[in-house]
């Protein structure tokens, strides 16, 4: 026999021997962790994983358990077992109401109470004094002079709950636009109030004034823009188009930084014709801030010069948007140029 075959044979025999008798040489078994596992039924598991399912859907509704004695119960029931996945917090057992018929599905248009908590059965609003608890119990106050001393007991009631999650779409989707109609709201007719005999007390501020002022403000805000007949139409000027106009005028706006007119902000209105040229005499002072009359006038003249001088053959503005730039209000604010 060849040496290699011998070595191989010996090695194989050794291996077989270890396989057979190896157990005799095994050391102490390694320590291992023992966990107790409770076995739950499939119904219980289903109840855990889908606790909010209404009971009537189950084929075999579980018989309601007997009401627990009116003893203080733990705030949160101990979970039976902890499933491997992140568990849904187990809901407390449904409040047993043996006499109550199975909750029927509310009609579609039934009003849903606006409550946060969702439970298999809707629970009405608890009495105000009641402490929230899963079991309802009446208040017991120790009666003075009673023969049998009674333990004081606070009234408890189940938390208010509903049996449906009402989505925003169902609850709040408006049928009509909430915006008020663009019509001038009619002023409320002041109801004639039977006045008492005139007294010597000072008369309160007349109410019609308030309603008129509020109405006017509301009407102006709501109906004003829509009612404006000259509102421009078409797309607004792009930022670039506005910037080009701004730059064009800036180049001709000469600011006397040492003068008092540099303390004045003026707003100048003007109208342009379709070629972008200022309509004759349409430049006007609309508003001003700061300075005296003389410096306002000087600031206005400088602004007017800037507008008229830089128009040349007309400002370069998109013809198709003429309605947007026919009337312009330009504010000249020298604040950033002012010497400090």
């Amino acid at each position: 026999m060849q040496t290699g075959t011998k070595i191989s044979g010996i090695a194989h025999l050794g291996l077989i021997a270890i396989a057979i008798f190896g157990g005799a040489f095994r050391s102490e078994p390694l320590p291992f962790e023992v966990r107790e596992v409770s076995v739950i039924s499939s119904e219980e598991y289903a109840a855990l994983s889908n606790p909010s399912r209404p009971p009537e859907i189950a084929e075999q509704p579980t018989a309601p358990s007997e009401p627990e004695p009116a003893e203080p119960v733990a705030e949160t029931p101990t979970p039976v077992a902890r499933p491997e996945r992140d568990p849904v917090p187990p809901e407390p057992e449904p409040v047993p109401e043996p006499d109550a018929p199975e909750p029927a599905l509310p009609p579609e248009d039934a009003a849903t109470p606006d409550v946060d908590r969702v439970a298999p059965e809707p629970v009405p609003t608890p009495p105000q004094d009641a402490r929230p608890d899963v079991v309802e119990q009446t208040e017991v106050a120790p009666e003075e002079g009673a023969d049998i001393p009674q333990e004081a007991q606070q009234a408890t009631a189940p938390e208010q709950a509903t049996d449906r999650i009402v989505t925003e779409a169902v609850e709040t989707a408006p049928i009509r636009s909430p915006r008020p109609p663009r019509t001038r709201p009619t002023a409320p007719t002041p109801t004639p109030v039977a006045q008492a005999e005139p007294t010597s007390e000072p008369e309160p501020e007349p109410a019609p004034d308030r309603s008129t002022a509020v109405d006017a403000a509301l009407a102006e805000a709501l109906a004003g823009p829509a009612a404006e007949p000259d509102a421009p139409v078409g797309p607004p000027l792009s930022a670039g188009e506005k910037e080009a106009l701004r730059v064009a005028v800036s180049q001709c706006w000469n600011v006397d930084v040492g003068g008092r007119s540099s303390q004045v902000v003026v707003t100048v209105g003007m109208s342009l014709d379709q070629s972008g040229k200022v309509v004759g005499n349409s430049v006007r002072l609309i508003d001003s801030q700061g300075g005296n009359d003389q410096s306002v006038q000087t600031a206005y003249q400088a602004a007017r010069r800037a507008i008229l001088r830089c128009q040349k053959d007309g400002y370069d503005l998109p013809a198709e948007k003429y309605a947007q730039w026919r009337d312009i209000e330009m504010t000249f604010n020298p604040e950033r140029m002012r010497i400090k």
Partner: protein
């Protein structure tokens, strides 16, 4: 009521703003402009007779020089003109002046009759195609033609800038000749632009710090005639002068008129201590305003006469203080590095000009009357003694060059820090004091 209305309006505004952004006129805000002289054209004033031709030409040149000298205007010279003004009453061809980018146009005519000269003029806003203000006519003697030119320029300046003019004003100053170690000083008076210099004193004694009265008819100054500094007052009309304050064993200096022209505030040195006093010109009563062991000097009234700004070294070095005109607690207003002196309250009342010395250099600066917004307008080896133009827009001061051959001369600068330019005087000049606008 107000709360309800306010909340309703706020709601309405919020609700309507997206709509309003698209309605109404297009709104643009311009926040950047240019700072450049405004181009103007002043074609030669039309002479109403051949005799007036030379006067018309001179007047036109002075008007143009006044305006360009401010740094706010740039003349478009006659060779660039397209249009010609040959008739003062003819309508303006705006296109001719728009073509050369003249934003303002000044037209006028000059008539001479004997020693009377009549100047008529109009100012036009070329791009608006309208007259700025209305036509005006001045009549005066042929000798005073320069003043008439200044008055026309003041009107043009005022109509375009919205501020009072300052061309028809004079400056009193110390005229200096000779080297530094043997300098001869005398009082001189001139037009604001350096023309028409006249000497008010001879150079036999040292004179310092002349100050105009509010009406421009008198000048206060300090003279060493007696060997010690004492205050004198001089009548500009007849050049008569007298000593105002010469108490035995004292030195008086740094005088300045109150806005009422009846009171003079000044420094009086007595027994080694210098304090501020006022002198009532009518009664000769002297009132002490400060009482401190430090040096108080260089007082200047606010235009309303209610306060006085002055310099004092009470804090250890020279700083500026403001106190009530009748004396009382002084409030320090200068807090920057260096030393501050010679404060002068602006005729507008909104600023105080001063001399500042810091890091071996001198500056003319301005600050708000509460000491805020300090700005230095100049810097040199030696700048000092600012004085305000009547409109509070320009400062004149003295600048001295370095070295034994150093010379002091007058400069003016706009309060924006621009347009620093020398004022031409026959000799050296220092201690300028600007008069009010002449009537």
């Amino acid at each position: 009521m107000k709360k309800i209305l306010a909340s309703l309006l706020l709601g309405a505004t919020l609700f309507s703003s997206p709509l309003a952004a698209q309605d109404g006129p297009l709104r643009i805000e311009i926040t950047e402009g240019v700072i450049e002289p405004l181009p103007f054209a002043v074609p030669g004033f039309v002479p109403e007779s051949p005799a007036a031709a030379s006067q018309a030409e001179q007047l036109t040149r002075v008007i143009a020089a006044d305006l360009t000298g401010t740094g706010l205007f740039r003349e478009i010279t006659a060779d660039a003109h397209i249009g010609q003004i040959t008739d003062f009453s003819a309508p303006i061809q705006y296109a001719d002046w728009k073509a050369i980018n003249a934003q303002a146009l000044i037209t006028g005519s000059v008539g001479v009759s004997g020693n009377r000269v009549t100047v008529r003029f109009r100012v036009w806003d070329v791009f608006s195609g309208a007259e700025l203000g209305s036509g005006l006519q001045f009549v005066g003697s042929t000798d005073g033609w320069r003043r008439m030119a200044h008055k026309v320029a003041d009107q043009v300046y005022s109509r375009i800038t919205g501020e009072g003019g300052y061309f028809d004003s004079r400056v009193v100053f110390v005229s200096e000749t000779g080297p530094k170690d043997d300098r001869r000083k005398r009082l001189a008076i001139m037009d604001y632009d350096g023309a028409n210099v006249q000497y008010l004193t001879d150079s036999s004694s040292i004179v310092l710090a002349p100050r105009f009265s509010p009406r421009g008819d008198k000048v206060l100054y300090t003279s060493y005639e007696s060997g010690f500094p004492h205050i004198h007052v001089l009548d500009v009309g007849n050049v008569q002068q007298r000593v105002l304050e010469q108490s035995e064993g004292t030195m008086s200096f740094a005088p300045r008129f109150a806005p009422d022209g009846q009171t003079v505030v000044y420094s009086l040195e007595q027994g080694g201590n210098t304090d501020l006093y006022t002198l009532d010109l009518a009664s000769g009563n002297r009132t002490r305003l400060t009482n401190a062991p430090s040096i108080e000097t260089a007082p200047s009234y606010s235009p309303d006469g209610a306060q006085i700004v002055f310099e004092s070294d009470r804090s250890g070095n020279q700083q500026l203080y403001v106190m009530p005109a009748r004396g009382g607690e002084a409030r320090r207003i200068s807090f920057g590095q260096g030393r501050y002196g010679t404060p002068v309250w602006s005729p507008r009342g909104d600023m105080i000009a001063f001399t500042k010395q810091n890091n071996g250099r001198f500056h003319i600066g301005v600050m708000r009357v509460d000491g805020s917004e300090e700005r230095l307008l100049t810097a040199s080896f030696l700048d000092e003694g600012p004085t305000w133009a009547p409109n509070g827009r320009v400062l004149m001061f003295a600048r001295e060059t370095q070295g034994a051959a150093g010379r002091s001369s007058l400069y003016s600068v706009d309060i924006s820090g621009r347009n620093l330019r020398p004022v031409r005087t026959p000799d050296g000049g220092s201690d300028p004091s600007w008069s009010p606008l002449q009537q």
